[in-house]
């Protein structure tokens, strides 16, 4: 990106050859989409049947089901947007959406 911009700003008296690469993405990054969240998923671990439906239907793919653990549903809150698809799709309705902040 910077290469292209510099070339446009530079005054060239006579034609010159440039090697322009154009805008190229070189950084594999993630936005902090967890900051969007208004409603937060809360799991009732007693009622959970560990079927994995929430993990499969999560658009951000941030839900892990760890069967050995007592808190078996692990959600990465750095990226959870709080859409509530997991709560809506859960067959036993053990996920509820609670207000995180007003």
């Amino acid at each position: 990106m910077t290469v292209m911009q510099k070339q446009q700003e530079k005054h060239t008296p006579k034609p010159q050859k440039f090697r322009v690469y154009g805008p190229v993405a070189t950084v594999y990054g993630s936005s902090n989409t967890g900051s969007w969240r208004i409603l937060c998923p809360k799991v009732d671990y007693e009622a959970c049947i560990k079927c994995g439906t929430c993990a499969r239907s999560c658009p951000a793919n941030i839900i892990d089901i760890i069967k050995e653990q007592s808190e078996c549903v692990v959600i990465d809150f750095d990226y959870c947007k709080g859409c509530g698809i997991c709560a809506n799709e859960c067959p036993v309705k053990c996920i509820s959406m609670v207000v995180e902040r007003g």
Partner: protein
Amino acid sequence: MYDVQHNSRGLVSHGVSACAGCGMELIMRNVLEVLGEDTIILIPPGCSALFSGFGNETALKIPGFQGNLENTAACAAGVRAALNAKGNKHTTVLAFAGDGGTVDIGIQSLSGVLERRDKVLYICYDNEAYMNTGIQASSSTPYFAGTTTTPSGKKTGRKDLMQIAIAHDIPYAATASINNLNDLKKKVQKAKDTDGPSLLHIHTPCPTGWRYEPAKTIEIARAAVQTGCWILYEYEAGKVTINYRQKELKPIEEYIGFQGRFGNLSKEQKKEIQDYVTKQYNKYIIKLEAMN
């Protein structure tokens, strides 16, 4: 190759700025889970451009290219030609475009690819309007749906992309929906293994444009299939298979009732939609059965 700042499972970054409850994000993850690393993706401007990223940042681990709205399929054909010239037969070339970039603006280049038999996997995620520019109606917008350019409801039905593709007699074409992700993955795998052009038309609920609660994305996709608004079928080497058949269609209210874009319709208009959908569905099933 990339400077990885945040790690992720799979090939797609977790923090993508797609709206909460976006159906397209779910499709992208499931498609790339099947296709794997050996894929080159072509993305037109649109909601899917969130995955090619902003500036020097990207949300995909696979190589890709963002072209213009009208030439996604043509770019894919070019990438395929370059790979063929290098003797590379294994890499999948994936074009991932929305309904506007496919049925309106990009249809001429798509038709060219289908006619030339280039081995390209074309996926159209259909959210039934130009969502990224502010919900303008496209030719895939259904009958009576309200958008910013059709505030009182669209007066015409939708363009049938599948029948256009089938008219080119391509090796593989299928419709899919996010309510059945296993079926979607199976179809992606079939399309990947096809020697020649393949097309997937995927129904993608959009909470922002259709104006419903983000939590209902998959529920609405399911309702669309069960009410007959979206028909799941595939066309494979000249043979049509209907994947899901309702014995009796559910009332249309279960699909349009949640959605704000159908919110200002009167009772008579809702009945008109019901009659229209039932008639279209029955006609379409007879047509599909007659194709075999």
